[in-house]
Symmetry: C2
Subunit: 393 residues, 2 copies
């Protein structure tokens, strides 16, 4: 029935080990022939004959028809992926940064070579959102895709809102538990969810936007005053990427903290879990929930991609090829809460109207309407210490 896959894997962490173990126990018609690793000397749990530091031992082995790329370095990952695709091998990757920055060229290379590149593991771990957007939701009918895409930030926010921890303590705990990197900027600064959003936008609407052009503001400026404000109104703050269709063929993309009410299903997504909220014509809300981060959830998505390759599955990128293409816009009004200390900020950032204004010796905030374009242009002013912005419904 299925094609036998002979796999060369780049990187050997918890995912690689886990994949190896499960592939051994199950009758999946798969074999991992080689792991390419950086450090040959490191002690391994598997026979040393399985390991090499020479990428070509995989890329030039004609018997290996599938490359699984699980390394952190985005540039190295891109180089491996391109070489493997051009060598006629199918590739599975979970490197969101590499993918978000290079999707268009990677799609072209797939079309030229006929090779297949799958990357479900790059967005929200075990949640099969790419597959669902690719296969199930017609872009004409898709109103929006949003959700909790970053487990580390969500873990921190859960600790802050449910256990009354300060942002700094919660961040430290997340780092101790391995939910956040030593340099947490990628996560708490909203870059990681932005990369995922760029990939989602491509499969949801056939729209490629370079991540540099997408606004990302994270939770790293969150202060006790903002938490107090939220709690008084029975709201939680969540870090939410959004891809949304406005007037027919225009698409808005951004990552911002948002005040979320009890009624929202995202209110209940806690700790390192992820949830993806899809709004489509007719369907009302559809919600996909699962473990977002960590070796095993990512491993499950990688494994699903691998098993799909046995049947020659490839993304068709239909939506990118539709007659009526959509376009990216930043002409979009948001209602936001902006907390600040220095009044002069308001002279530099143009709100279209201000609904509420609060000031005290400790902090000031306004609630008002501002355009996405303005937030992007004034990002440096808005995304600085002493200032916190979050979207309101």
């Amino acid at each position: 029935m299925s094609n036998k896959l002979v796999i060369g894997m780049f990187g050997f962490g918890v995912v690689g080990q886990g994949l190896y173990d499960i592939i051994k126990t199950k009758d999946l018609n798969l074999e991992i022939k080689k792991f390419v690793i950086k450090n040959q000397d490191k002690k391994r749990s598997l026979p040393s004959s399985l390991f090499t530091t020479d990428a070509n031992a995989v890329l030039q082995d004609p018997e290996i028809n599938t490359v699984v790329e699980l390394i952190d370095d985005a540039d190295a990952a891109y180089d491996i992926t391109v070489k493997a695709l051009k060598a006629g091998k199918n590739v599975v990757s979970a490197n969101k940064k590499m993918l978000a920055n290079n999707l268009e060229s990677l799609v072209n290379i797939q079309h030229e070579t006929g090779s297949s590149l799958l990357y479900e593991g790059s967005v929200c771990g075990s949640i099969p959102i790419i597959r669902n957007l690719e296969e199930y939701y017609d872009n004409e009918l898709l109103h929006s895709v949003s959700g909790i895409f970053n487990g580390s930030s969500n873990y921190i926010l859960s600790k802050v809102f449910n256990e009354g921890q300060s942002y700094d303590d919660a961040l430290k705990q997340a780092q101790d538990y391995g939910f956040a990197e030593t340099d947490p900027t990628l996560d708490v600064g909203g870059y990681d969810p932005k990369f995922k959003l760029a990939i989602v936008a491509y499969h949801a609407y056939g729209l490629y936007v370079n991540p540099d052009k997408i606004l990302n503001i994270g939770i790293d400026k969150l202060g006790d005053a903002d938490v107090k404000f939220a709690k008084e109104k029975n709201l939680k703050i969540k870090l939410l990427p959004l891809a949304k269709e406005v007037d027919g063929n225009q698409i808005v993309l951004y990552v911002l903290p948002k005040f979320v009410p009890k009624e929202s299903i995202l209110y209940a997504v806690e700790n390192e879990n992820n949830g993806v909220l899809v709004r489509a014509a007719f369907a009302d809300e559809q919600f996909f929930y699962g473990k977002g981060a960590g070796g095993h959830p990512t491993g499950s998505a990688v494994l699903s991609d691998i098993t799909a390759l046995r049947y020659g599955y490839k993304y068709e990128y239909k939506k990118h090829l539709v007659d009526k293409p959509v376009e990216y816009t930043t002409h979009y009004q948001l209602r936001v809460y902006l907390r600040f200390s220095d009044e002069s900020l308001l002279e530099k950032v143009n709100f279209d109207n201000i609904e509420e204004r609060y000031s005290s010796k400790d902090f000031n905030y306004i609630i008002g309407q501002i355009s996405l374009k303005e937030i992007i242009e004034k990002k440096e002013l808005i995304d600085q210490q002493g200032v916190f912005i979050a979207q309101m419904d």
Copy 2:
């Protein structure tokens, strides 16, 4: 890019009307040419030229390449579906009973004719669970599929547990609001979720089991004592179908009420909503949530099937064709709560062991281990007035 679909639709209810409206407003490369209806005289919101009572006006129209079947009568629906497939037309259906009873022959007809039959709308409305089981989860790696598949029963249970209503009052309200039929047996007796479970089992494990062979016990014998018992232990009762792999290649299938703790994500699924819980190797829990019942959720699934047909999508039924087939078993131990009035029941139903025994003037219950096989053989004794059974963790 996509193939133009010319659609003939059987039935014209809220789904048909909604589909017509949305297809008109969107650029989907679809056209609904004819509705086949029972009653020509009924007043319609659309031009009468669109309606006919003659099935052949659709089945024998060579221009119509897609049949959408939305009628209640399972036998008539099967007849239409078979004729349409044999006439080389693709078919979209949401008739769970028709599908569950005839899946094998319908799959054979698809293989003979090359036509495609899609039926996402038949299971959990807008939740794309069939597609995900078909495309994303390898049966070797799938531990279990469970969840809340029946909106009517869940609506009733929500009213009982959250608003303290009696089962009878809640049922009446569900009927008044149109969440339950005048004869609610299909829903509250667990037949509807059983049909869905049979379809799920086919796409999850490639296993076809005739619904007559699958145990279904519903919530229609639920009593105040059972609710009191659950609430004292901070549990809710939910009606849960389960498809589960046991020892490698054996599959257990049944529909039973179950005591669900706060920690379970199903605990939070209320009213007419549906939720599907998938457990797979590595992935831990994955949860799909959405509106289960009603015209619009079903319409969204039907519409997704229709749009997929523009690209020639068909289920591949890979799992049904795997080298190592799985088999259905009823040799499976369950831990259950059994409430009864007549002590003699215990002499007729064989428990493997009894952990707890409670009796009072109002009611008695035991908690113990019993085999699925025994429950099936003694169903008439267990599923009668004055007796209520529910699974415990």
